[in-house]
């Protein structure tokens, strides 16, 4: 399938990466992430989805391959440079720091801004303005919040650095359907602000519903890809059958 795209925000080519040198998990993954869109990556457990996101976030080194952001190679840059250039990752699973307060969690979202206290406080304040109910919870320990509130803290923390590219790993796992749909609505709202989103998800239906383009990875390789229309038709059934959903 050939895909026409005017611009590529994040261009991943022949990415090889893993945790043990010489034993890659990703065997040459290719992804083209269009600006201002939601690109979804699906795949079975262990396919390497989270691994790919870790490389894109800059804290797992690639063995080879290329990651270009707006045309600039970033694959070997450290995490803080990725964040400075506007990429941020929401890791899989619960990722609040449970023993820190909500305010402390969110402040750490601006870790790379810590040299400029004024900017950091402004950024934190902006996030509290965006999620006013978090302001009331600011002195509670994050671990004491409900699952949905914790997810909001995680998203709020992610937004402190005002990223233009969001890497989101399985945001609805463990949430009630109501809360999960709020999370997807939030992702759509972030897209409407012009942010680019790379979403990894196990909830195939929900992810496809908000996707502009979809990749399927299996065993560290590209398997299928297509736009939403393709996946809502036969391809969707194919993938669902193959994933056993």
């Amino acid at each position: 399938m050939i895909r026409r795209m005017d611009a590529v925000k994040l261009d991943v080519q022949k990415l090889v990466a893993g945790y043990i040198p010489g034993h890659p998990i990703l065997h040459g993954v290719n992804l083209k992430i269009a600006p201002g869109q939601i690109t979804v990556v699906l795949g079975p457990n262990g396919a390497g989805k989270s691994t790919a996101l870790r490389v894109l976030a800059g804290f797992l080194a690639a063995e080879s391959g290329s990651v270009r952001l707006d045309g600039d190679e970033i694959v070997d840059l450290p995490t803080y440079r990725h964040i400075e250039s506007g990429i941020a990752l929401l890791p899989q699973g619960h990722s609040v720091f449970p023993d820190l307060t909500v305010a402390e969690n969110i402040e750490l979202g601006g870790w790379i801004l810590r040299g400029d206290r004024r900017r950091l406080h402004q950024a934190v304040d902006d996030v509290f303005t965006r999620y006013p109910h978090l302001r009331d919870l600011r002195n509670k320990s994050a671990g004491s919040l409900s699952g949905g509130q914790q997810r909001t803290v995680e998203i709020a923390r992610l937004l402190v650095s005002n990223p233009r590219v969001l890497l989101i790993d399985e945001p609805s796992v463990g949430l009630s359907p109501v809360i999960a749909s709020q999370v997807y609505r939030e992702l759509t709202a972030l897209k409407a602000e012009g942010r680019t989103i790379l979403l990894v998800d196990q909830d195939i239906r929900a992810a496809i519903r908000i996707a502009d383009y979809i990749y399927v990875l299996n065993s560290g390789k590209n398997e299928i890809e297509g736009d939403r229309a393709a996946f809502e038709g036969d391809l969707g059934a194919l993938v669902r059958g193959w994933l056993g959903v």
Binding site: A57, Y80, L100, L108, E154
Partner: protein
Amino acid sequence: MVTTVAGIVANGILLGLVYAIAALGLSLIMGVMGIINVAHSAFIMLGSFLALGLLEWAHIDPIASFFIALPIFFVVGAVVYRLIVTRVERAHQTQGLIAMFGLMVLIENLGTIAWTTDTRVITVGYSNANLTVGPLIIADAPLIAGVLAVVLILALRLFLHSTMVGRAIRAMGQNRDAALSLGINVRRLSAIMFGLGIASAGAAGVALAMIFPFAPQTQIQWLAWAFLIVVLGGLGRVESTLVSALMVGLIQTAATAFLPFDYVYLILYVALATILSVRRQGLRGVARRAI
């Protein structure tokens, strides 16, 4: 009777405070980094000998040595982290254990070569002095050591809770991936945490030397003591280490007041065995949790 109880409580608290700093580094390194640093007590021993050396060669009072030990052992800890821990921390946990065990044996043996196996005591003006508060008699040395311990505990707590670097260190113990994803330099902060843990071990060695005799080969007893406190208190929080250390100090002074000293160990280790079997997860389970 009231006086006896008050005396036991006062002395138990002072002892507990010193035990708290002896265990704090072990607890924090385990809680934040998941590393069971069995070489911890070897650094306590080195701290005691630092105090002795500074006293004998430069007439520096242990109170000053306590503060001198902090930066010295911080650097030692950061170097040990870089040279040894970084090589084993991503490996299976037993590898790290063996590496740190080797380091402990090495330090102990170098210690016996340098200082022999003779038992040493530190004797300064206040070593045998007492403070009398009404009917209460408190020995000066534990009092001073206890006050120094409070200073260190407060400083560590302040650092970990009230500075952004301290909070980032706690954060990386709670969720490493999330910390990494925020650009937190886990390597550097781990070196700082390890340095702080070893710094508090060295300072604890100075404080313990003010109260107890010491020798290179007896350091292992402080490892057992520190483990006991860590397991009793759960991991990684300054407060919980403090509380369980105070409990151990109080149990010890109370038991010594009424029982032969040998029973103290018996009581404390029965308590340890009970807690470990009730928790059913042992040290590995403890080490997975974070501050």
